[in-house]
Amino acid sequence: MRGWFLPMAVALGFIFLYAPIVSLVVFSFNESRLVTVWGGFSTKWYGELLRDRQILGSAWISLQVAFWSANLAVIVGTLGAFVLTRFGSFAGRLLLTGMITAPLVMPEVITGLSLLLLFVSMELTLGWPAGRGLTTIIIAHTTFCAAFVAVIAQSRLRQMDESLEEAARDLGAGPVRVFFDITLPVIASALVAGWLLAFTLSLDDLVIASFVSGPGASTLPMVIFSKVRLGVSPDVNALATIIIGFVLIAVLIAGWLMRRAARKPL
């Protein structure tokens, strides 16, 4: 794979990846309502977007859901990963392994539908959760995000030198102390990565949220979906541009922080 073929294939691949995004951004500054015909530069769609109470409200809901889901998912996922990598054998180990990996391959429609049916049945028999809304979305997102966190945490825990923990035990730390003094700091970077992944996945989810949300609790993807179903609209382009801008800034900051950390002598 030398010569012209490889660079060309790679260049085409990257054009494929970025051309739609670039056009999305470009047409967000379009004067015309037709998203794909240039009618002069304008920022009016941004103004329209900022006046759209429905979008702003759903964005706030999505951020809350993502924040709490990511927090809970890191707790559940890390504990699951820790149990599976450090506890040896126990009753139900196989079950836990299955329950932690299965959400990764479960189609979203199935997860969404089955959780909704659970919530409905629980409401009928236990009276909780009363209706559906923020709480049920957070529970649903925590469940599938925990699996992703667990995968990341598990691979970090496996790489980690277990003699570190043994050394701490040898020096007189109890198991709980060892977890908080040694294990947690060592795998911290993996947990941060897991938290960010969970946050993004939650923010991105449309299907599961559509099933388990109730009236008055529409997330941002749900609102966008109902808008774009009817066709392209320039204020969605503006929203996309803002999200891309946020991601770019976040990545640049993260990259800068990592470079600084790499330069610092240990």
Binding site: M1, F14, G92, L124, F225
Partner: protein, 292 residues
Amino acid sequence: MSWRRTLVIAIPMLWLGIFFLAPFFVLGRISLAEAIIARPPFTPLFDRAPDGTLEIIASLENYRFLFQDALYRNAYLSSIRIALVSTIFALLIGYPIAYYIARAPEPKRSILLLMVILPFWTSFLLRVYAWMGFLRTNGVINNTLMSLGVIDAPLRMMHTDLAVYIGIVYTYLPFMILPLYANLTKLDGALLEAASDLGASPVVTFFTVTLPLSLPGIVAGSMLVFIPAIGEYVIPALLGGPDTLMIGRVLWDEFFSSRDWPVASAVAIVMLFLVVAPIMWLQSVQNRREMD
């Protein structure tokens, strides 16, 4: 066993048991019920018969319906076809990119890798939406081709299976590239040099050494594209035509449009056994092989 140990095991176990495992039992039970116009819209499992005895209402009627109606069979088959074709295209596009990045020197490598991951962090829905603007009758592609004089009339690309393929390949391409990249960077350069030293041309080296050794990466990447693609709802709903059948979309419509919860549940249960179970089995085989 200490109480602390039990507690630590119990937290993830209970959470996943209640919110991941239990729902499937509810799903199974409702798939045996009958749709009624009520809240909730299905018959209860236990009912008082007119003579006052407790009777269990459960029927396999929904399943019989699924197997009789060609729509569902076609939807399952077409989902598999669409996922498979998309996976193959993602592999064909993703492999050269992964290979190139794996062989690139730093810092080019990190930058390219970041460029592959970056779209993933932006919204999935908006990336699909971007293609709507691209593929429409008066979208970017048609407008460009027409202004260049390549075509006279706009091509119909939106609301076709082609658009669904493009959408799936586009959104899941990073999932193909990343495992392939991880595999290809582990490839020992000395092996390529050894092949070359023994008289293999670059092309022969690729097919006799690089490709067979990257097989685990190919399998991992293909799984990561195939699995979400097969249950996909958003992409066929936005880019596909009315005749683009995918099982995720059928389930969604059954639930939201027809409000037939029991049939939707039955569709999900069949999907679980026909699609999810084989994939999980395949993955566990794969994992066991990697452990050896």
